[in-house]
């Protein structure tokens, strides 16, 4: 998963947005950072919802 997923995303972004290799890599890095922050917030939210459900 750690190898094919970024390769797929790179090929997909290059194919759709027709950006340069450096531009695509830079955007992939920023997308990874943004997604990691969003996923972290979602996981914290999920645990909070789970804990809240334990009170019912």
């Amino acid at each position: 998963m750690l190898i094919p997923a970024p390769i797929h995303l790179f090929a997909h972004m290059r194919g759709v947005y027709r950006t340069s290799i450096v531009g695509t890599l830079a955007r992939m890095f920023l997308l990874f950072l943004g997604s990691a922050v969003a996923a972290g917030i979602l996981i914290v939210g999920l645990i909070a919802v789970g804990l809240n459900g334990m009170g019912a």
Partner: protein
């Protein structure tokens, strides 16, 4: 933006029944069952109701639903290889208007998500190895690395459970910078104790909600792409949404494949 998404969702849902309606359309001139206007095609041009007659056996109806969902008519087999090996071409051709030969992206995403949770549910019986906690301590100028295996809540012995409960009772919540909020602390302690007492119920709630949270990755991804391509005016939020639908569908298929391989590999 919402109208674009509504259009995409409408096109996706509409495509699902359009083929069925055309396949089982009554003869031209048959009065519409709703407004009695003579039909000129599979749909009534006056009230918009489908002229399709649903008086078929349940087996046939179910087979048509499965066929419509999976697009086993050939679009599935054209879309999947492109999605995995030529994703750029697939998304570009959709955005350029060549939509008929491929599965609508929203339906593809929803079917992959459904398959992901189905496969996840089937393979959840697979025992996942315990997490390891690694600590580094300095002893006489030398760094000693100790690895301890973390246990899941349900595997704790009564003594370990008592120790965890004692640790939970010391939990303090700080909402303001230097003021601990007693009410929030009590809320958290109470729920942590209930989780310790019934971890299976906690996992079940997490499993139910994770499906809803997974869908949230779609708007998040589309918004992030909008920010990343903010200076490229030729791309709209609709383009980023289609890109995200294809990208997340491909990721979902990779996860399904990885889960399948890990289950077969033991």
């Amino acid at each position: 933006m919402s109208s674009e998404l509504e259009l995409a969702a409408g096109a996706s849902a509409g495509g699902f029944v359009r083929r069925m309606a055309a396949k089982h359309a009554p003869p031209l001139g048959t009065p519409c069952a709703n407004c009695a206007t003579p039909l000129q095609g599979p749909w009534c041009y006056a009230c918009g109701q489908s002229g399709e007659d649903f008086h078929r056996s349940i087996v046939r109806l179910m087979a048509e639903v499965v066929e419509g969902l999976l697009h086993a008519d050939g679009r599935l087999w054209r879309t999947l290889p492109d999605l995995m090996f030529r994703p750029g071409r697939l998304t570009r051709s959709f955005l350029e208007g060549h939509r008929a030969p491929q599965i609508p992206p929203l339906r593809l995403f929803l079917v992959v998500l459904l398959a992901l949770f189905l496969v996840g549910g089937l393979t959840s019986g697979v025992k996942v190895g315990p997490l390891n906690a690694t600590t580094h301590t300095k002893v006489g100028g030398k760094v000693v690395t100790t690895t301890t295996q973390a246990k899941s809540l349900s595997d704790l012995t009564p003594e370990e459970r008592a120790r965890v409960q004692a640790a939970v009772s010391k939990v303090k919540v700080r909402i303001a910078s230097d003021k601990s909020d007693e009410a929030a602390g009590n809320w958290l302690k109470e729920r942590l104790n209930r989780t310790l007492a019934d971890p299976e119920r906690f996992y079940l709630i997490l499993e139910q909600w994770s499906e809803r949270f997974a869908i949230l990755m779609l708007p998040i991804s589309a918004l992030l792409l909008s920010v990343l391509f903010i200076f490229q005016r030729r791309f709209y939020l609709f383009d980023h949404t289609i890109f995200s639908l294809h990208s997340l569908s491909a990721l979902g298929l990779m996860i399904i494949l990885a889960m399948g391989v890990s289950t077969i590999g033991g």
